[in-house]
Amino acid sequence: MKTTGKTTYQLPIGPIHPALKEPVMFEFEVDGERIVNVNIRLGHVHRGVEWTATQRNPIQVLYLAERICGICSYCHPMAFSLAVERAAGIEVPERADYLRVIHGELERICSHILWAGVAAHEIGFDSVLFLTWQMREKGVDLTEYLTGNRITKGITMIGGVRRDITPDMHPKIQEALQYYKENFKKLQQVFLDDKTFQMRCKECGVLTKEDALAFCAVGPTARASGVKKDVRLDQGYFAYSDFDFDYITPDIHTGEVHGDVYDRIVVRLLEIQQSIALIEQCLDQIPAGPIVSEPNIQKLLTKLKNTSGEGIGRMEAPRGEKVRAPTYNNILPWIPMLTNQQIADIPIVASSTDPCMSCTNRVTIVKNQGTSFLDKEELHRMSIQKTRRLCP
């Protein structure tokens, strides 16, 4: 920490810091414990994905895009796919649109629960972190059952999806949804009714509706400030226009909008309920038919190669509108959220937008007081065993 004047100090936090789960650099100007100003620097995990994509064919880009981020690994390739389909005039079968909704909402459930655990951790409740992440396992297991993969799902295909969900698979989905319904009350009690959560999160990290609009905030961050913006409803891509649901803003639960961290928790928790209902509607109404417009990959590639046009793919990822990563638009809103807050509140305010700079995975096992690393072969063997347990 170094002095820059009589009353304020510069406090750098990041890009790697114990209080942050993502590599981002905050340069705070603080007056005692109060934040006066903040400068944000990005790019510490910039991998040149855009350039790499220009060296691949469109189907290869799907697999590249789902590696941008491990939490919304479905939304990235799907937004790309939507753009390609619109540029090339590819019609997606109705059944595929319904399947796309199921996978999208399942990803939202997993992402929001993961975020809830991180939020609990940031304010010191690690037991709640483990409770929520245990709940998330059910969703990840279901993802593996439906797609064959837990994180990078490999389910997206230009013109549809790669795997069907047959009627004999519905009971497993319904069982997982029932599990979440039964446990939702528990989440609500911990995150919304608990006094300590309320004391830490209410009136903390406020983003006004005016600032949310000015800084182009998206997703739960925008909705928690009272901005009714949700691409699923605004434009109704996939089959969303067939379903009965509405914008979720915090006043549904609290009667008013404050735009604070607590309101962001309210929106995400209610959206878990909404996602459960959407998957149920999907299962009830899903039409029969093909799941992809052109199953022959070579024919599809030839068509794409001979097509020119421009298209844009917009979808509502768990963190918000995706035509680029939603965090991209939720960076600047950090400035009004953090200004005038206490240093101690930096972690929960920063994480309240569910930021994602990128995702990397490493596994370490502590065994017999020593540390051993799982190699690729061992992880592969374990994943095959787990899949066989889920899909005997």
Binding site: G43, R86, V231, D234, G236, Y247, V323, Y328
Partner: protein, 179 residues
């Protein structure tokens, strides 16, 4: 924020054509339907001269004060750099949103464009990104620094360019090199 009377896609295109009579190069409506109910939605694609770009954004904002800027994308097309600014109007009412994409071609001899951060502060990062990735100049940008690429990345190299200023000379095939 109050909104004026909502225009439909045809009226919206017409209002822009009426306002800027000569500098609109192309304007088209992409209409799509989704789901079993065949709900319609619209993307407008408007190609315009950069001299009227900022006024066009101001016009969109006058139609909807809650105008949302999603992102700007950019491409190197040999002699020009093309920028596509993606906006959306009328969000908040189910199925009423209209996407508007404004395309502006910048000649490489003068790759400059006006900032829109004074109208939409949230466009800053997107403008910074286009500067560092495509080598364009955004006039009056309030924060003229790099945002994604590192400070020690060579000056005059732009990762999204396909010409001599592109990243080719920086690319190494690591499998061919002794590390």
């Amino acid at each position: 924020m109050t909104q004026k009377q909502r225009l439909n896609p045809e009226e919206l295109i017409q209002s822009i054509k009426d306002m800027f009579t000569t500098n609109i190069q192309d304007a088209r409506i992409e209409k799509r339907t989704m789901g079993k109910k065949k709900t319609e939605f619209y993307h407008l694609w408007i190609r315009l001269d950069k001299t009227i770009f900022k006024e066009a954004v101001r016009h969109l904002q006058s139609l909807d004060p809650a105008l949302h800027f999603a992102v700007s994308s950019g491409y190197d097309l040999d002699d020009t750099i093309e920028l596509v600014y993606s906006f959306s109007l009328y969000h908040g009412v189910r199925h009423q949103e209209i996407s508007v994409n404004l395309t502006v071609a910048l000649p490489k001899s003068d790759p400059t464009i006006e900032t829109i951060t004074d109208l939409i502060p949230g466009s800053l990062i997107s403008e910074q990104e286009k500067q560092e990735m495509l080598g364009i100049m955004v006039k009056n940008i309030p924060k003229n620094t790099r945002v994604f690429i590192a400070d020690d990345f060579p000056k005059g190299v732009y990762p999204w360019r396909r010409d001599e200023t592109g990243p080719k000379k920086l690319i190494r095939n690591l499998h061919k090199e002794k590390i």
